[in-house]
Symmetry: C2
Subunit: 360 residues, 2 copies
């Protein structure tokens, strides 16, 4: 016959009894409230130590109606356990930024993955509400338009790396127009005048915005854009073999032009890497014969490629920070001109490495 501990964790009553004070006094010590006589305080603290007392957030929450909890809904962290892919990298950095702000504000994150299904999203939002999270961050792993479920409107919510198609929820997204602009400018500013652009699928919102930026940069530099120079590498996402083939075709087209480009901007670093591999096979050297600009700054690629890749970074950490700050402000009721800038776009810097030749 075994003897079970009646109560495993000590309560504030146990502490009060041990310290021969009332619970209220213990509570005062806990919250560093008012003035408690130092000797009393010391006694209480000791009792807490001895009993290994840990206050219960649940009880505290009931009284105060505050949890210090933020719910983070993400699609990338834990989705599709079977697909080993590099997906998730953006989310990690987004989370870095979020976490750093939460820390400073004494908030704790509950992280849950929505996976693929929308009903799962509903369910998770519900779970969050049951836990009385004070706000929700909805994190996408690539810049996209979303239609948030009704439940997200019932709590302070900020969208990260995505936006409400009706613009009713505050959002923080990458500034892809600026991104495209900077990518083009990276080449333009080094004297390149014929710049190829291998874009991601047109269905992605980033693609169109970057195209726009690409054009604007040319305008600003008073350089004419040859439409034959910007090519959509169609389904440059899956599977890898198809990607490689699509890229090779696009590349052939570009390099067989009467006036081939001296530089090529890529839709992302992965594409740039494939480009490296292809060019190597053809024996064209980077950056001597052709300059390359990437997008994303996946350091796994950009730092390891030879020559190291000049690329436009996406400011994921900052985006996470900004989104978290906005959420906390909203929770605390700090009115921050909610009128304008519902969706806020953050631009990332060009990371200069060695894949762009200076033609000047």
């Amino acid at each position: 016959m075994e003897i079970q501990e009646e109560r495993v964790v000590a309560t504030i009553y146990d502490v009060a009894q041990a310290a021969r004070v009332s619970v209220k006094t213990v509570s005062r010590v806990l919250n560093e409230e008012a003035a408690v006589r130092p000797s009393t305080r010391e006694r209480v603290l000791q009792s807490m130590q001895q009993l290994n007392y840990t206050p219960s957030t649940a009880a505290r929450t009931m009284r105060t109606q505050k949890t210090g909890l933020i719910g983070v809904l993400t699609t990338a962290i834990t989705s599709a356990p079977t697909t080993p892919d590099a997906a998730g990298l953006p989310s990690v950095n987004l989370l870095k930024g979020i976490q750093s702000v939460m820390d400073r504000s004494g908030m704790l994150m509950m992280v849950a993955d929505t996976g693929e299904s929308p009903e799962r999203l509903e369910q998770l939002a519900r779970t969050f509400r049951e836990h009385r999270v004070e706000g929700i961050l909805y994190v996408a792993d690539y810049h996209q338009s979303v239609s948030p479920p009704a439940s997200l409107f019932e709590l302070p919510t900020v969208l990260v790396n995505c936006f409400d198609e009706h613009q009713r929820l505050p959002a923080v997204v990458p500034d892809d127009v600026a991104g495209g602009y900077r990518a083009a400018e990276a080449a333009l500013s080094r004297g390149h005048r014929r710049i190829g652009f291998l874009t991601l699928p047109e269905t992605m919102v980033a693609t169109q915005l970057r195209n726009q930026g690409f054009l604007e940069a040319h305008e600003a530099w008073e350089v004419q854009v040859d439409p034959g120079l910007v090519l959509s590498v169609g389904k440059f996402l899956d599977p890898p073999q198809e990607e490689a083939r699509a890229l090779r075709h696009a590349l052939e087209q570009l390099l067989n032009l009467r006036e081939p480009p001296t530089a090529i901007c890529c839709g992302n670093d992965k594409m740039a890497m494939s480009l490296y591999m292809q060019l190597q096979q053809w024996g064209v050297s980077i950056p001597e014969q052709l300059s390359v600009v990437g997008f994303d700054d996946y350091t796994l690629i950009t730092e390891l490629l030879n020559p190291r890749l000049t690329t436009v970074a996406l400011p994921y950490v900052e985006m996470g920070q900004r989104a978290a700050s906005r959420l906390i402000q909203e929770i605390q009721g700090v009115a921050e001109d909610r009128s304008d800038r519902i969706v806020e776009a953050l631009a990332g810097p060009v990371i200069w490495r060695h894949s762009v030749k200076d033609l000047r």
Copy 2:
């Protein structure tokens, strides 16, 4: 003058009142308990709907002393907001595995990052306890030995991707001996007999274990290991320039041997990628002139390299699943032979691609 809502969320009492029943009946409906007359049940459900009622986990927790919460402590997700690196990739996959199991068990994760400082770890463990998590998963981002703080012993805890130096806590780690074995065997089985091994720093536990596996494989295949063939690429971690130089030296040494290797196993995929870059510069072709085997299966690298890289995968998703399962079993008091297998090692498969030439 603004009017504030007195209470924003409905309680069980509000529902009871609206449905003209007692709170107990509402509770019964909530928990699908006993038999409630269908008509009553329907009425209660409707009232819940109308009031947008969401039960409070805090209140429920107080009564039942159960939270359904698991605390996940990690070093990689959100640490060092300033270092953009590929770090975090293992953790993401580990989390994938963990999440998939938590889902099935109806548990929710609280994720917190310990960053660098040990006292932060203490503090987070404390926060978890305040939230009455029912168990803790301590996740490292590379295979290492740790000395867990006392607080981790007070709750069911499983170490993931690391182990307690005194083996007092259950742990799930990669089987690096098997990994080294399989890497070598990938080459041996294709007829290679002189295989180079470019290892990670010897201070990493993975390095020694993989070395051991490398040797065991040679024994099994009755192939003599030339000690001159296994080289530690010293500080092959940072900064990139130094890495590249260290690698070049090691490579020169290897290829200038009287009998150079026909295949090279790399400590990780990053190193393999650097190897590709270097070999390309020297004009030696893969796999015709030299075969390469990687480690980690970072698909960002392995799928994009040309030829695609044959590598030994680390079973992060499975590790996460296994760790989560063990934790839940421990929480539920399912005695699973705690005597043996305190630390459990999981081996990952060789992912066959095209960087190893068949010599047979």
